[in-house]
């Protein structure tokens, strides 16, 4: 069984909770005691219907205020796949939550109310999905029952979205007409929309090809931890532990160790299930090399013919998360990238992006919470990275405030400025 992680975005009004509730319910992932608890609470709150949003809103404050504060993770499985749903709220902290949920997603699910059409929010969702490099996008045009299941309403929204999507880098877009409330095209193909020739949502989630989404081309193995048993039977043993970020590594491969630049050969790979001939993402393994130079956490194993950039100047898109301070030039922060942490200086804020219009605002001096912009950073020690669009593992970083220790920003690398 394969694992598919997807992020959903939208407000309650678009029927997102109803849709997730239905997916959980129809795959038998919601239990009777959960439904009873939700019914009880709905009744206490004076609602005349069972509010499925209560399934995902877990915190006391969320239930009391009827809002979702944080990304909630939900789980369901069909015989074909296990699904992890990052359900991101549409209210406060919207961008921050969506970026967080999208960072690990293979697929983004965006809901549109057929009566309202494409809104600013739809555009924001789509943009953030592409900014975070989610390979697959599904646009569900919901509440088709309210427009008599008519093809024309669906077609007009689909073409409106296609116009907007042309400006974004969307590789795989599927548009599905649904009624979350009545279940049309959610699990089974709807008899009410014979004109629709595509798959139901669940069928698409089960079948969408995600095997090629991993980068299996560029070999990158960040050293996470060095295993030294210090026992007589493992005298001089050094196992280099880490999770394969991209590409594949085989026993006998000659590899390059960065930043030292020495070469060595892989002589052993140990995976969770024992010895392996080959390691690939997302497996956590330990490797041994023929020559043991001083290799430590933060080093990167690659191939001499296929290396990441090694640089101190980083050009990146940043999303700023905190209300407590701004991102502005001359600011110093801690950057965590792969298994490396170092300090960095904001050299320049190049522009702020208006995520509703995609307009670049160049005469700005700061980013505030939930804003996205392009910056130049200078790191204290060199980082070994790739462009985020080519490699989500080695192209991503977080920014940490040195004083508060909060995670204050997320970054996606465009390239080097060196």
């Amino acid at each position: 069984m394969e694992l598919l992680r997807f992020a959903t975005a939208g407000s309650v009004d678009d029927g997102k909770s109803t849709l997730i509730g239905r997916l959980l319910f129809d795959s038998k992932s919601v239990f009777e005691d959960q439904i009873e608890a939700v019914e009880r609470t709905s009744e206490q709150m004076g609602a005349d219907y069972t509010n499925l949003a209560l399934l995902t809103d877990g915190l006391r404050a969320e239930r009391e205020q009827g809002i979702t504060i944080d990304v909630a993770y939900r789980y369901f499985a069909t015989p074909k796949r296990k699904f992890i749903v990052a359900d991101t709220p549409g209210h406060t902290q919207y961008t921050r939550n969506m970026v967080t949920g999208a960072s690990t997603a293979d697929l983004a699910l965006i809901l549109v109310d057929v009566r309202k059409g494409i809104t600013e929010q739809t555009k924001r969702h789509a943009f953030i999905s592409t900014l975070l490099g989610i390979p697959h996008l599904v646009l569900c045009i919901n509440k088709m029952d309210l427009v008599g299941y008519e093809k024309e309403a669906f077609d007009s929204i689909r073409s409106e979205f296609a116009d907007f999507a042309a400006k974004l880098q969307i590789h795989d877009l599927v548009v599905i007409p649904i009624s979350a409330l009545h279940g049309d095209n959610v699990v089974d193909r709807s008899l009410n929309m014979q004109w629709y020739g595509g798959a139901s949502l669940l069928h698409h989630l089960e079948e969408v090809h995600i095997g090629s989404d991993r980068n299996l081309i560029d070999p990158r193995f960040p050293i996470q931890y060095v295993l030294r048993p210090q026992r007589d039977d493992y005298h001089d043993y050094r196992g280099y532990a880490g999770t394969v970020a991209s590409g594949s590594f085989r026993i006998g491969d000659e590899v390059l160790i960065l930043p030292s630049g020495f070469s060595s050969t892989i002589v052993e790979i140990n995976g969770p299930q024992g010895p392996l001939q080959e390691a690939y993402p997302p497996l956590s393994v330990a490797m041994r090399f023929s020559e043991e130079y001083d290799i430590s956490r933060g080093d990167m194993i690659c191939r001499s013919g296929n290396q990441p950039k090694v640089a101190q100047g980083v050009d990146a898109m940043i999303c700023w998360f905190t209300p407590d301070s701004f991102l502005e030039s001359k600011r110093k922060l801690v950057i965590k990238h792969s298994t490396n942490s170092t300090r960095c200086l904001v050299e320049e804020l190049i522009y702020r992006l208006d995520i509703n219009t995609l307009h670049r605002e160049e005469l700005v001096d700061r980013l505030t919470m939930n804003e996205i912009g392009r910056v130049k950073l200078r790191t204290m020690k060199p980082l070994m990275f790739d462009a985020y669009k080519e490699n989500r593992s080695t192209g991503a970083f977080i920014l940490i405030d040195e004083n508060t220790h909060d995670t204050v920003g997320a970054g996606m690398i465009l390239g080097s400025t060196d």
């Binding site: 694992l3 995902t56 877990g58 048993p229």
Partner: protein
């Protein structure tokens, strides 16, 4: 070459990554082990993460004095079985020292009391990273947990002010006296745990499997007659039961079951219509936010 990775492989590698990250970035980690299936899966994964090294951190059990004897027997064998260091922090000792007072009344339990014992043990040992086997699918407040979950100097959790967690870039920065709770199997479901126990052939305390026991019914739960005080109106009968979760013997309910093998348990869990905590835990029935309230104070 087929590069397909199953969901269990992906979850296992994710947990190994988290454990190694903690060992690399923290000074003094510890792994909490209740003797239950989730924590035993954690111990198993930790062995793999650091093989061929010895487990590079101790295992700690919070002993309430009310655990099932079968679980205590199992715990006592852990040290030898895994060649690791086992610490036991005792709620009874905290009571004897006057740190906490035993609850009284019909719903008295030592469930909340363990929070003090746990936080004292964390403080005394200066642990800065505490591994727990909590899963997001277990309970709604746990659905909002991070892999790296910050606790202030009072050991408290602030669910509304959590650090955002992106990709697999975990921020474990903290000051002295603060610590992190680490949840490597956050993304596992009950069924994933059982499938993994089956695949890896992990030994569990015998009471997870169906056995004959004297029980009585209270609030729709089957409680063990040997461990829970009961009134004369509560009728005791013998039944084939098993435990889905292992809390204190006086608050954990058994379920009727004929499942004596892992395969049968997987079939049973696949078709059950009740969550594991809803079916078996009196402690979470007190209110909708019972777990959240305990977690804020420093619970597991």
């Amino acid at each position: 070459m087929n590069y397909e990775v199953t969901h269990l492989d992906a979850l296992e590698s994710e947990a190994i990554y988290v454990m190694r990250e903690v060992k690399a970035e923290f000074e003094r980690p510890v792994l909490l082990c209740s003797g239950g299936k989730d924590s035993l899966v954690m111990v198993h994964i930790a062995q793999k993460a650091f093989s061929p090294c010895k487990l590079p951190f101790p295992i700690m059990h919070i002993d309430t004095g009310l655990n099932f004897p079968e679980v205590i027997d199992f715990r006592d064998k852990l040290e030898e079985k895994f060649n690791c260091r086992l610490l036991v922090a005792s709620v009874q000792e905290s009571i004897d020292k006057g740190r906490i007072k035993e609850e009284v009344g019909p719903t008295a339990s030592r469930n909340r009391l363990q929070i003090v014992t746990l936080l004292d043990a964390i403080g005394e040992n200066r642990f800065d990273a505490v591994f727990g086997g909590a899963r997001r699918d277990e309970e709604k407040s746990r659905a909002k947990e991070r892999f790296f979950s910050f606790r202030d100097e009072f050991g408290q959790w602030d669910p509304k002010a959590q650090r955002p967690e992106l990709w697999n870039l975990y921020n474990g920065k903290h000051r002295q006296g603060e610590h992190f709770r680490i949840f490597p199997i956050s993304n596992w479901t009950e069924l994933d745990v059982w499938r993994y126990v089956e695949r890896e052939n992990i030994e569990l305390p015998p009471i997870y499997y169906a056995h004959k026991r004297k029980v009585f019914e209270r609030d729709g739960m089957l409680l063990a007659a040997d461990h829970v005080q009961h009134s004369s109106e509560e009728e005791i009968f013998s039944a084939m039961v098993r435990y889905r979760t292992l809390g204190d013997a006086n608050i954990t309910g058994a379920v009727l079951s004929a499942a004596t093998s892992i395969e049968q348990i997987i079939n049973e869990v696949s078709s059950t219509r009740l969550t594991e905590r809803g079916a078996t835990r009196a402690d979470d029935r007190v209110s909708d936010a019972a777990m959240e309230d305990r977690k804020v104070e420093g619970y597991f």
